[in-house]
Amino acid sequence: MRLLASITRLYHQFASPPYFYRLSGLWLPYIMGLFALLFVAGLYGGLILAPVDYEQGEAYRIIYVHVPAAWMSLFIYMVMAITGGISLIWRLKLAEIVMISSAPIGASFTFLALVTGSIWGKPMWNTWWVWDARLTSELLLLFLYFGVMALYNAIEDKRTAARAVAILALVGVVNIPIIHYSVEWWNTLHQGPTITKFDKPSIHLSMLIPLLIMAVAFKLFYIGNLFMRVRTELLVREQKSKWVAKLLESNS
């Protein structure tokens, strides 16, 4: 019971804006530093150390950006849905802000995955775009992100807007698997997944390790970027509160 109580206390503490602002400020340089380190390491491993693919030649190396970006696009939508659920149930302001701030980052990653996929498709399939299942569902994910952002911008009161967006994100998350499988049955040209088969990945270890490093780097980038956005949003929303006034005083 004591443990549970201290966990709840920690949770509420972390969700309080001034506490989060201070803590995230402390963590931010480390997160971004670690990101830079892993990003360079992952790129070096992927672009220089990893062997050439026997079938796709050098062109396959774009996976070191494409695949992590595609993973992030789904991951961030999940984060949005989960924080949306939290903000609907417990009305946590921080959860709302995390959800809203995630949307543009997620949309950017989705866009990046689409662009890199298209660049990869040109030498491999000899066309910029095919109406293939995975490309299409990624495109639809981008539309879902656009819907979330449009709805948030359309509602003036930002707390109401966040609640509306939370509902939309939850509806979207129920629909994502349905959309995914419907599109899958509709058409498939994309190569099957090579990484998710964890028991025996069909990708060589020297190619896999840089990819995983890049995936971690992208996650750190997301967290760092998210922290920056959340901090700004917190300052804007709480501009009339005491802790912001204090912060301004100590800074000037």
């Binding site: 609907l88 639809l140 539309f143 879902l144 656009f146 819907g147 449009a150 709805l151 359309a154 509602i155 009161d157 109401t160 609640r163 509306a164 509902i167 939309l168 939850l170 509806v171 979207g172 129920v174 629909n175 349905i178 959309i179 419907s182 599109v183 049955w185 509709w186």
Partner: protein, 222 residues
């Protein structure tokens, strides 16, 4: 509980029959947009026959979305929606009455007029019956999913454009399965799998979307 449901259902039907334009306008839209396609493509029988299911389905999708606009609007504006939230009967249950009434007003006439349009697009008879079946299974799902979007945007001034951004991506599974079923029928295969999927999506929409609609309406009423 059931009396409140039937009251709302009857009331909505009555209002619709007093203001028939609400029933007729989406239908005219449906007919007009479909007749634009032969005009744009030319009187190419083979091509039209091939793309007719897609034309009819995409237009039905848009017509349903447009007709949804007045699902909650007048109730929202005159305050009766607020009264509904105060009833003992849960709002998530009551909205199903409104949606069912709305489907009878807009979805059903659309299905009834489709055979005529299908003939205009040179569809063979057995494809027409499959087309009607997919519309029968699909349009209630479209109404239910669309109602979530309309509940979120009912208080907004430029709700229409945003509504399409919100719900068109969610409409895609229905569109895909319906057109796949029609393709299969045209090629002489069975369309049972697609119809089963459409039914499954409908059941899922019936069970889950009322809760989302009620929550969204409460946010909009805030």
């Amino acid at each position: 509980m059931l009396t409140a449901w039937t009251q709302i259902f009857k009331r909505d039907l009555l209002i619709a029959f007093r203001r028939r334009s609400e029933i007729i306008h989406p239908l005219i839209f449906f007919v007009m947009v479909i007749s634009l396609f032969p005009l744009a493509i030319g009187d190419d029988k083979v091509l039209l026959q091939k793309i007719a299911p897609a034309i009819i389905w995409v237009t039905a999708l848009l017509a349903t979305m447009l007709s949804l606009d007045n699902l909650f609007r007048s109730d929202f504006e005159d305050g009766s929606l607020e009264q509904m939230t105060l009833l003992k009967t849960p709002l998530s249950f009551l909205v199903t009455a409104k949606i069912t009434a709305h489907w009878f007003i807009t979805g059903l006439p659309l299905i009834l007029i489709t055979p005529l349009l299908a003939v205009l697009l040179y569809l063979p008879v057995d494809t027409i019956s499959m087309l009607l079946l997919t519309l029968l299974l699909g349009t209630p799902t479209l109404s239910l999913i669309g109602a979530v979007g309309i509940a979120l945007t009912v208080g907004l001034r430029q709700g229409g454009v945003i509504l399409s951004l919100l719900i068109l991506p969610l409409y895609i599974p229905v569109l895909i399965f319906a057109t796949l079923a029609l393709q299969n029928t045209e090629q002489g295969f069975s369309a049972e799998a697609q119809l089963a999927m459409m039914l499954a999506i409908l059941v899922l929409a019936i069970t889950l979307s009322p809760f989302a609609i009620a929550a969204a309406l409460k946010v909009s009423l805030n």
